[in-house]
């Protein structure tokens, strides 16, 4: 297990690229600290990855986490965030791009323990081929966690007939003075937008690509570092174009 402590009052940025296998990460964000983290999963199609991430946020600490899944065989993520100190704030965002027979699962639990904490979840999946993507997001507001505020948005785009999106937002609330929203959508590419673009001369393949990239754009926009954001945006574009090599030449690549 990897243990990280973000010391009180400090601001830390972290970029993490996963390799096949299992990861277990525990993060404690101390009082008033800020963590900006971005993770990338880009592995050969035959491989598997699972990660368990536990995060404890102390008073007035802030976490902004963005995870991008470009390519994998099977990937499972279990995320458990506990807002332990008053006024803690967590933003979780993720984009999953899957095709062929890829299979991804995300189980996300955000637990509001202390008063006055805020949480925000934004997960988007673009699924094609026979891929399956599951996102299960749950916000649990414990008794006494008054003035909690949470947003939960799960949005899915099924580009092929056979792709399957499983999208489950959940709220479990044991306090009476809270503001919690959640929503989930599953849809196809917007044919009207597609036609509008083609009328302007943009070839259909290119138009589809632009629309898929646009769909995950707001997740990418959550990455505060501009260079990293542009780099990942570029990788996402290559992924949609089918030009992406898995895993930047690791030993498992052919």
């Amino acid at each position: 297990m990897d243990n990280y402590i973000i010391p009180a009052g400090q601001s830390v940025s972290k970029f993490l690229q996963f390799s096949p296998g299992e990861d277990h990460i525990k993060v404690t964000v101390e009082e008033g600290a800020t963590l900006n983290a971005c993770s990338l999963l880009n592995m050969p199609v035959g491989t598997e990855h699972s990660v368990t991430l536990e995060m404890d946020l102390m008073a007035h600490s802030t976490v902004n986490l963005v995870s991008i899944t470009l390519k994998t065989g099977k990937a499972v993520a279990n995320v458990h965030v506990r807002l332990i100190g008053e006024g803690a704030d967590v933003k979780l965002a993720g984009a999953v791009i899957a095709d062929a027979e890829q299979n991804t699962e995300k189980h996300i639990l955000v637990e509001h323990v202390a008063e006055g904490c805020t949480s925000d979840m934004l997960y988007k999946q673009v699924l094609s081929g026979q891929s399956t993507g599951l996102v299960h997001g749950k916000v649990l507001v414990q008794p006494g966690a008054q003035k909690s505020a949470s947003e939960q948005t799960l949005a899915n785009l099924c580009v092929s007939q056979e792709a399957r999106a499983l999208s489950q937002p959940m709220l479990e609330i044991y306090a009476d003075d809270v503001k919690c929203n959640h929503g989930s959508t599953i849809g196809k590419l917007d044919e009207t937008a597609l036609f509008y673009m083609r009328q302007r001369g943009i070839p259909e393949v290119e138009a589809r690509l632009l629309l898929q990239h646009a769909f995950v754009n707001d997740v990418l926009q959550r990455i505060p570092n501009e260079d990293l954001r542009e780099r990942l945006s570029h990788l996402v574009e290559h992924r949609f174009r089918g030009e992406l090599k898995a895993c930047n030449g690791c030993s498992l690549c052919d």
Partner: protein, 251 residues
């Protein structure tokens, strides 16, 4: 430029166009009027190749080419542009990226290199001025958060950038206030040349005042039942469509 012969078309299995004949020559502006549901928008959508509309009979020649064989994007490259009645919002695709993709696709079609960044931005700047669209619109998503008037201006802006030879204005004037209508119409007029033509769908006399069309056609129940000059448009403004329908029904 454009020849439509005995055009029949369906949408969702229902026949809307029932034998439309129309010829538009270089430099002409034609106004198409008609009651709601008469087929004006169907005709526009068929011309630009919207896959929701099915042509069951007839042919369309565009500069001698069989238009119905071309994909929507190739029709665009060949010079056909439609200003949509309700331009759609495409969040996440910035106006700049959208226009770059459109401009470079057209250049590729004609075997030209993509436009370099500074020439491209210069082109956008120049054309924005024509319709009074601020620079900040270019970094927003396509039509994202644009008001109704801004969307219509954006349509004319895109028309200015793509320089079509044949433009379809599908109720571009609807939902515009007097000032916005003037800007849109003046923008359109500035883009007119002896080589460019247009088909304009409108319900408003003010649009006739600005555009000074060469011909006015009246579409009723999927067929063009009257042809005339601008005075026909003004007569309809005064008397409505019922008298034309009555005359058609009474032979």
């Amino acid at each position: 430029m454009l020849e439509i012969r005995n055009l029949h078309a369906c949408v969702e299995g229902k026949e809307i166009l029932k034998g439309v004949n129309l010829t538009i020559r270089d430099g002409e502006v034609h106004v198409l009027m008609g009651p709601n549901g008469s087929g004006k928008s169907t005709l526009s959508n068929v011309l630009v190749g919207n896959p929701k509309y099915e042509v069951t009979e007839g042919e369309i020649l565009f500069n001698g080419k069989n238009l119905l064989e071309l994909s929507p994007e190739d029709r665009s490259h060949e010079g056909i542009f439609m200003s949509f009645q309700a331009p759609i919002e495409i969040p996440g695709v910035s106006m700049t990226n959208f226009m770059r993709a459109a401009v470079n696709a057209k250049r590729k079609y004609f075997g030209e290199e993509p436009l370099n960044a500074s020439d491209f931005l210069k082109l956008l700047r120049e054309k924005r001025k024509l319709v009074g669209l601020d620079a900040h619109f270019m970094s927003r998503g396509v039509n994202e958060g644009f008001s109704g008037g801004e969307r219509k201006r954006n349509e004319i802006f895109q028309m200015a950038v793509l320089e079509p030879t044949f433009s379809i204005l599908d109720e571009t004037d609807s939902g515009l206030d007097v000032d916005a209508l003037r800007i849109v119409a003046e923008g359109f007029n500035q883009l007119r040349t002896p080589k460019t033509s247009a088909m304009v769908i409108t319900h408003y006399q003010r649009m006739l005042d600005y555009l000074k069309p060469d011909f006015v056609h009246v579409l009723v129940n999927g067929q063009i039942v009257r042809d005339g000059d601008a005075s026909l448009g003004y007569e309809i403004e005064d008397r409505g469509f019922d008298w034309i329908k009555d005359e058609v029904n009474n032979g």
